[in-house]
């Protein structure tokens, strides 16, 4: 490999290999790490976990430290789900597990044995968009797009939470049906940050889908 080839490694390739080195590669990492663990360092533990991701059964052999987010991106290669802050503050990593939205960065993959995980790739396809995806396109609910997969997974879940009677901080009444009002959607989406500030358009997109459902 000449020098030019060496430097032509893509940015994504570098990021992926860096994360894989931390998490787990495909070349029997347990043996490799165990053999090279210096005295006093902790040995890495590998664990097998099976879950259904977007309807497809997946069995993964992972370093126990691997988050659901890294498992999705680096192991299953579903890169639609994004890593923003990696600390549960921005919501870019939001996915739907067993029907509820969660921050996939704050959840260990090994704790999802038997779970049903839905990512942005599982909501719809470019040819057959989920109504929320179509509404985001129609209402321009994004600019750079980085937070969008998390926004959409969250938005879909918010409408379900409202339908299920989950209260929010701005709900006037705790009992009885919850409203899909603008103020409700803004409060319920506060765990998803958009640096570009597409919030008002996101709320418009959600209002359209909520209205169609009502």
């Amino acid at each position: 490999m000449d020098q030019l080839d060496y430097f032509s490694v893509s940015r994504r390739g570098v990021l992926a290999s860096g994360a894989a080195g931390l998490a787990a590669g495909s070349i029997s990492p347990q043996v490799a790490f165990a053999a090279s663990t210096p005295a006093g360092e902790r040995a890495i533990t590998m664990q097998t976990v099976s879950m259904r991701i977007n309807g497809k059964a997946q069995t993964l052999d992972l370093d126990t430290r691997t988050t659901l987010l890294d498992a999705l991106r680096e192991h299953v290669k579903l890169t639609g789900t994004k890593k923003g802050c990696d600390h549960g503050q921005c919501g870019a990593c939001t996915v739907i597990v067993n029907g509820e939205r969660i921050n996939s960065c704050l959840s260990l993959a090994v704790m999802h044995e038997g779970d049903e995980v839905t990512t942005i790739e599982g909501l719809g396809t470019p040819e057959n968009l989920h109504p929320m995806q179509a509404a985001f396109v129609k209402h321009d609910g994004y600019q750079c797009g980085y937070c969008t997969p998390g926004q959409i997974c969250s938005a879909v879940s918010v409408l379900k939470e409202i339908a299920d009677g989950v209260p929010s901080h701005v709900s006037a009444e705790l009992t009885g049906p919850m409203e899909a009002s603008n103020i409700e959607m803004r409060e319920r989406m506060s765990g998803n940050i958009c640096r570009c500030g597409a919030y008002s358009n996101i709320a418009e997109a959600m209002a359209e889908v909520a209205g169609d459902r009502a």
């Binding site: 902790r42 939001t94 704050l106 959840s107 765990g191």
Partner: protein, 318 residues
């Protein structure tokens, strides 16, 4: 993150035994706080005991007419429970005032009680912090302390317990039920669950290392008007500067607990007795205050937030 071994358990007894067996073990349920701290290597467990399979995820009625909330009931499920919404509204209100929808779906009743402080000097591993590294000092006292504690704090630590749910549980006289590896169980009143920092701010609760929370029980409903009022720098998804959980009657008598000012939800008997006199109650709640220059405003904020809550309880425009 430091490597750790991992096991799943299927009963509380098994969980406590597993924690007693392994060196440096921690229970994990929702993981939203523990995993965050593990990434920063503030928490470095050698072994994680996954308790999500222990079946403690139901809310049942007690013989005394109250509720027993399983330790694994999520914040969302608890806030949405029809019995809680109807009879313990202050608890629903406190829960939905905290965190985000995603976090509330994962956070559990037991885990939320163990949420560690959000003091920025605890999180910044380059700073002195007696809670993170006993004996290293407290950078917060001379630092940015606007968010930090004014009562129940010590020379060693001025951090606060950050949660909202526990403030409501305190006003409701909740009790924490636990089990240990030797099979013994105990019931700890919430007011005795979180320790004041003293000289050992790294020890935050009365739990022993192999002791697992199994449930939180609520006495029979109190009636009255239930209010949770949270004052913060941002309208949503921010920790409290001051919060008030209140259960009051039409005359404004009843009980209050304050969040955001102390190592534990702050409730003072003489303050409850002083109600509906807001000034006297606020004085009782903050008489031992030792604030910094930056958070002395919280003394006045306690009184003003209480006044707002009182006006609401009496049906006046707050």
């Amino acid at each position: 993150m430091k490597p750790f071994s991992y096991e799943r358990v299927s009963s509380p007894a098994e969980a406590a035994a597993a924690a007693a067996r392994a060196r440096g073990a921690k229970f994990i349920a929702g993981g939203t706080n523990l995993l965050d701290l593990m990434k920063l290597e503030i928490e470095t467990p050698h072994h994680l005991v996954d308790v999500t399979g222990t079946g403690l995820d139901t809310i049942t009625e007690t013989d005394e007419g109250g509720l027993r909330i399983g330790a694994l009931v999520s914040n969302t499920a608890l806030a949405s429970d029809e019995r809680v919404k109807r009879d313990y509204a202050v608890l629903s209100r406190a829960i939905v005032a905290g965190a985000s929808g995603q976090l509330r779906n994962k956070a559990t009743t037991g885990g939320n009680l163990l949420q560690r402080t959000r003091c920025p000097y605890f999180y910044d591993t380059n700073q002195a912090c007696n809670k993170r590294k006993p004996g290293s000092g407290c950078a917060a006292k001379e630092g940015v302390s606007r968010q930090l504690g004014i009562v129940g704090v010590s020379d060693a630590c001025i951090a606060t317990y950050p949660g909202d749910m526990a403030v409501a549980l305190r006003v409701l006289d909740a009790v924490v039920e636990t089990v240990k590896a030797d099979g013994t169980t105990r019931a700890i009143p919430l007011g005795e669950f979180h320790r004041l920092w003293g000289d050992t701010p790294h020890i935050e609760t009365v739990l022993e290392p192999d002791e697992m929370i199994t449930a939180v029980t609520l006495p029979k409903p109190l009636g009255g008007t239930h209010i949770y009022h949270k004052v913060r720098d941002r309208r949503s998804y921010a920790f409290a500067l001051v919060s008030v959980a209140a259960v009051l009657d039409a005359e404004g008598k009843g009980r209050v607990a304050i969040g955001g000012i102390a190592p534990r939800p702050w409730r003072v008997e003489s303050a409850d007795a002083a109600l509906p006199d807001v000034k006297a109650a606020a004085r009782a709640l903050t008489q031992e205050a030792s604030p910094t220059d930056q958070n002395a405003f919280k003394i006045a904020l306690v009184e003003r937030t209480l006044a707002g809550v009182m006006a609401k309880a009496r049906g006046e425009a707050a």
